[in-house]
């Protein structure tokens, strides 16, 4: 340090004025991309199959907007709510000391992650074939009755016709939510395991119960790890609502667009409309994800911000050196 002070006494050398490195590759890339973009725009404008006016005319029609709001947006919200809640529960089961809960949790995630979502939705859509009525009461009542010589014993409390409750929407919601819960369980489990073991010990040493420890200490910290993939899951869920076509759920965006396309023999414009709608909706979710991640970074984030502030202060004091530009 002392030798540096000594050198400052000498004349300051003149600032470096070097010729920057050239990047001819970048210019070639730009040129190629420009040509490709021009070709793309050309197709969009000249190819009659796009039938833009038809698409714009149809894509804002009431049945399509209703399908978008109920079958896509509402379905995504409900399926994610159920999926996340159930997923947290299953994650906690899988990390429990109780081997039975652990086993049940494992079995659940195994089944619902192993069956493709599309197949699952088709199964739930046709579950009415299995049971025409869904009833709650004493299990094996008829069999027990036969054991005691009573014919056709029925101990049912209440029930529904499958067609009444497992309509397209309910079947689709069930399929999506149950499948989502399995993926969320794995995400939450990873989140919980990412929290330092010392946190659990500190909470235990304070006399916290397992529930308090999870709710107050572990889960809030796990959120930092859980939130980003949950955002991705939500976006994936929004797109997967298009699979409801196979339940089928008629009040749904892609079902409606597909139906209009097939009815009018203008399939391609309606599929383009679907692309545009999904692009629009996922863009909104991406923005939401950004704010959520910022919120749950509390405590960590603040440190980062404090560090940044410190860096700018020192940079300013350093006389506006190269670091100033980094801020």
């Amino acid at each position: 340090m002392k030798s540096e002070e000594a050198t400052t006494v000498r004349a300051r050398p003149e600032p470096i004025k070097a010729v920057p490195v050239r990047h001819p590759g970048r210019w070639i890339t730009v040129a190629v991309l420009a040509v490709l973009a021009a070709m793309f725009v050309h197709v969009l404008v000249t190819n009659k199959a796009f039938n833009w006016s038809f698409m714009v005319d149809k894509m804002f029609r009431p049945p399509i907007i209703e399908g978008l709001l109920r079958g896509t947006v509402l379905m995504t919200v409900l399926a994610m709510l159920i999926g996340v809640t159930l997923g947290v529960l299953i994650a906690i089961m899988r990390l429990s000391d109780n081997p039975i809960l652990r086993g049940v949790g494992w079995l659940y995630t195994w089944f619902f992650r192993a069956v493709p979502r599309l197949v699952l939705l088709a199964v739930f859509g046709n579950i009415g074939i299995l049971w025409s009525r869904i009833e709650f009461g004493v299990p094996f009542d008829t069999q027990l009755g036969q054991l005691f010589g009573i014919d056709n014993l029925q101990l049912r409390l209440f029930g529904f016709s499958s067609r009444d409750i497992l309509t397209g929407f309910m079947a689709g919601l069930l399929g999506l939510a149950l499948s989502e819960a399995a993926y969320m369980a794995e995400i939450v489990r990873a989140g919980i395991q990412s929290v330092d073991g010392g946190q659990t010990e500190a909470a235990q040493a304070l006399g916290m119960s397992r529930g308090q420890l999870l709710r107050r200490v572990v889960l809030p910290q796990a959120m930092r790890v859980i939130i980003p993939p949950t955002g991705n899951e939500t976006i994936a869920m929004l797109k997967d609502t298009s699979l409801l076509l196979y339940v089928p759920v008629s009040v749904e965006l892609f079902f409606q667009l597909d139906a209009v396309g097939k009815r009018t023999f203008q399939i391609f414009p309606m599929y383009v409309a679907a692309c545009l709608w999904y692009l629009f909706l996922t863009s909104i979710l991406l923005a939401g994800q950004y704010f959520l991640e910022r919120h749950f970074g509390k405590g960590y984030d603040q440190t980062q911000r404090a560090r940044d502030r410190l860096r700018t202060i020192t940079a300013e004091q350093g006389g506006g050196g190269g670091q100033g530009a980094a801020g």
Binding site: G207, S209, R216, Q221, G299, T303
Partner: protein
């Protein structure tokens, strides 16, 4: 300033025997590795007991057995006359339920080497958390006491800061305040200054000295010989899972009887 003296309910049963902690023949193994090979230890009420020893000697493990963060394999640990982790009934030991273990831990404060503050809560929230959630104290009262505690450890101006915004020494002082907020009858310190920069060790030791003067019963696992000599009422030297030597800290440090103690002290002094 001395509003956190040892709570009265704690002194009552212990006063009969005068013993806060009684450990008899404590054994603990991790798999095939036996870490504790029969520890006997008695700590009187109001005593500051310093546990010394090379790393791997089992002193931290033993400390963690006292509040049942580790399950012991043999022996008995009693805190304030109460068996830790088990109930003796009809000549048999019954494991306590998680709830009961949690209840026992409420009166035993613990301070960790790596602080383990809750990073998503401010200093004040860290201190308030357990009294409000575990003891169901009214929030206003808990807050008032937490503010007094933080002021006492010299952090009256840092209450709203998150742990990430505090230095190691400040974090450890918040951790001490957090443990004290439960009004424990016993405080366990697990190498409280080992993760600190040298110039921050003093501020944490000062808080601990202050606590000792107030009559808190403390068991301190430490490498700070100076602290043991100045504040300790007793010193226990452990090596290889056994107690090698114990006695008055000043005498043991000045005149160790056992070769292993001598060798260890020669290295750290």
């Amino acid at each position: 300033m001395s509003e956190l003296t040892v709570p009265s309910q704690a002194t009552a049963p212990a006063a009969e025997s005068g013993l806060m902690v009684q450990a008899e023949q404590v054994h603990k193994s991790f798999g095939h590795l036996e870490v504790l090979k029969g520890i006997d230890l008695e700590v009187r009420s109001g005593e500051v007991c310093c546990l010394l020893g090379p790393s791997g000697s089992g002193k931290s493990t033993f400390l963690r057995c006292i509040n049942h963060l580790e399950k012991i394999n043999a022996g008995r640990i009693r805190v304030d006359g109460e068996l830790i982790g088990y109930r003796e009934h009809g000549g048999k030991l019954h494991e306590l339920r998680q709830k009961e273990v949690a209840a026992q831990r409420r009166s035993i404060g613990m301070v960790f080497q790596r602080f383990n503050l809750f990073p998503h809560m401010t200093a004040l929230e860290n201190v308030i958390e357990a009294p409000v959630r575990v003891k169901r104290e009214p929030k206003a009262a808990a807050r008032e006491r937490a503010e007094a505690l933080l002021a006492r450890v010299g952090l009256g101006d840092k209450m709203g800061n998150y742990p990430g915004q505090l230095s190691g020494g400040q974090q450890q002082r918040v951790a001490i305040a957090r443990a004290l907020a439960m009004q424990p009858k016993l405080m366990l310190f697990d190498e409280p200054t080992s993760a600190l920069d040298p110039e921050l060790v003093g501020e944490v030791l000062d808080v601990m000295k202050d606590l000792a003067r107030d009559g808190m019963t403390m068991i301190v696992v430490t490498h700070e010989i100076g602290f043991a000599r100045e504040v300790g009422d007793s010193l226990v030297f452990m090596d290889g899972g056994v107690v090698v030597e114990q006695g008055n800290p000043r005498e043991v440090i000045a005149n160790p009887q056992h070769d292993r103690t001598k060798a260890f002290l020669a290295k750290v002094l």
